[in-house]
Symmetry: C4
Subunit: 199 residues, 4 copies
Amino acid sequence: MLSKSRIEGLSDGVFSITMTLLVLKLEVPMVMHHSTNADMLDQLLELGPAFATYVVTFLIAGGFWFLHHLTFHFIRQVNGLLLWVNLLFLMFVSLLPFSAGLMSHLLVHPVSQFFYIGNQLAIALLLNAHWLYAKRRDLLDSAAPSQISRLTLRIAMAVAVFAISMIVAFFLPAWSWVPLPVFLLGGTIYEWRGRYKIQ
Amino acid sequence: MLSKSRIEGLSDGVFSITMTLLVLKLEVPMVMHHSTNADMLDQLLELGPAFATYVVTFLIAGGFWFLHHLTFHFIRQVNGLLLWVNLLFLMFVSLLPFSAGLMSHLLVHPVSQFFYIGNQLAIALLLNAHWLYAKRRDLLDSAAPSQISRLTLRIAMAVAVFAISMIVAFFLPAWSWVPLPVFLLGGTIYEWRGRYKIQ
Amino acid sequence: MLSKSRIEGLSDGVFSITMTLLVLKLEVPMVMHHSTNADMLDQLLELGPAFATYVVTFLIAGGFWFLHHLTFHFIRQVNGLLLWVNLLFLMFVSLLPFSAGLMSHLLVHPVSQFFYIGNQLAIALLLNAHWLYAKRRDLLDSAAPSQISRLTLRIAMAVAVFAISMIVAFFLPAWSWVPLPVFLLGGTIYEWRGRYKIQ
Amino acid sequence: MLSKSRIEGLSDGVFSITMTLLVLKLEVPMVMHHSTNADMLDQLLELGPAFATYVVTFLIAGGFWFLHHLTFHFIRQVNGLLLWVNLLFLMFVSLLPFSAGLMSHLLVHPVSQFFYIGNQLAIALLLNAHWLYAKRRDLLDSAAPSQISRLTLRIAMAVAVFAISMIVAFFLPAWSWVPLPVFLLGGTIYEWRGRYKIQ
């Protein structure tokens, strides 16, 4: 009954605003005209953790946007429940500037890590719920079963990577950033090998 | 004469920005590297009322977006007056971050409750006016009369729930949040019973 | 050569964000749990000028969005120069939160009035330039000449009203808000009379 | 496999939000009711560098939006890698309010100039990479080869102008703004001469 174009519009809006609001957590250093270059560079370097958080959060959000985009490529129809799962998903997406702000100050603090990674895990879990529900209730355009199972795997991997990061953050806070690039690299290698086998 | 696609575009924009700006009312606690986990958790717990307001406001706004979306599903044509009612509706939607900010500080204060619930009531009343005007001026695509009367009922319920909340807030500020979940639960049960009868 | 849909998309984005950012100029009063109702109401009443500016600016921006929307209803084609006039137009639209912030503090100060009304005048002038250029370069869909001349008149009126407000602000700052409602009322009466004559 | 409409939607969102957030770097002067006109004008004039940065950054961002818009006019298809180059491009676009904030305070300081011009150079380089990749991988609609080579030249010029500005900023910070208008003027003259020759 519901058209999917406005849900896509709202989602693109929330994603683009969230990704752009992240920049407001980078506070412009208050410097004077007589500051030396060395002073200013020092102040910019102190923003290092905030910049790292900005880049990582922007790219993770971009990745979730990409996966969300792909799910709607296959979703033919939307019902009320799917729409509400989407709103919850967007609620956690738009919480990211807060979580990123917490992380910017305290890159390796267990509490900020739990909050930040927990936020990403909630996004991944809701994206997964949205996708599995759409699959089960037969709301998909079933033209491309192999692409659909590949997307199912990718979303499940997003859940796995943040669940593992959460466990790592519990024991070794300084290592919690390792699972994400490892999975991305592994996934890329796996897909490249798959392509060469087929050809 | 007017196309409805750009009004939908402006509305989706205002809704997505408002919903995302709510997060700016959650101030990141200023903590130090030597803060203990217990300190940080305490500070996050102090944000409890602000988080509750964030979640509730995001979901109510999502609900209004959903109802607004449904009205435009049936509206075939737009005239100048309908457009201005919509702009007033969007003006109260975009006031939500202010009302939510007031509520975040003082969850059970009568004045912040009146302001917040009054804001939601104004949104509901303008949505109702927009819908009734479109119906009366025959701007609807009248293909589905039963769905149209169901939507009329739903929007009237949104008005009722916030009007009742306002009255409750006057006598018992701490109970003003009760009408909304009661109505949602009642509505859901009613619709489920309706479905089973039909089948 | 250029499609108009993305220019409409960018414009709707800038308008909806600007209109929503206006709310950030309403500072939530910092009150305590033990504030009395009278204290809080006092603080909200002190925000009176800021609220008035919010409402007026939101509605004027809505009016410009509406006129801009109407121009694109008739524009068939876009060229490079038209696009740049549009970008300048959007630059002054997105300056509105600053002008409104200035006005919020000092409702009848000559300098804030000049800045605010000057901003609105610049928007009106650029909208006029955009429309006249599109007309002269034959970029319009000329199906409805009477509607086109009516729109030309309306946009010229927007320029006139803010030019007159500017002059009034120079001599009588407290009266600078009078021309706008007078023109709106006059225009509405004129159009109603026109309709009854035709029928 | 991927549709280009949602990437355009996300891009338009990021551009319009970034361009509108620039205004938040213009701090409204805190003045009193008894401030004289001269006082207020002084305070507005002190915002001069911030206004100059606002105007220049808004227009440069508008220029990049325009070039990005033109590239998607010719791009027929999108693949995963192109999408990620776009996300990186958008990441640097949404960093502009920070760079502009740095510049607002210190217009001729070498460090803020390097940061600001470096940001613009990164945007230009990623736009160039996005375009050359799309060309090489045959993702373009090759109907208009002369327009495509003209766009290739324009994007290369954007890279050149910010690379030269960077070098100028190193030796003569106060002159780093010269290359941009010189290139724009030169390009406009070149295109006008080209038109007259053809006709």
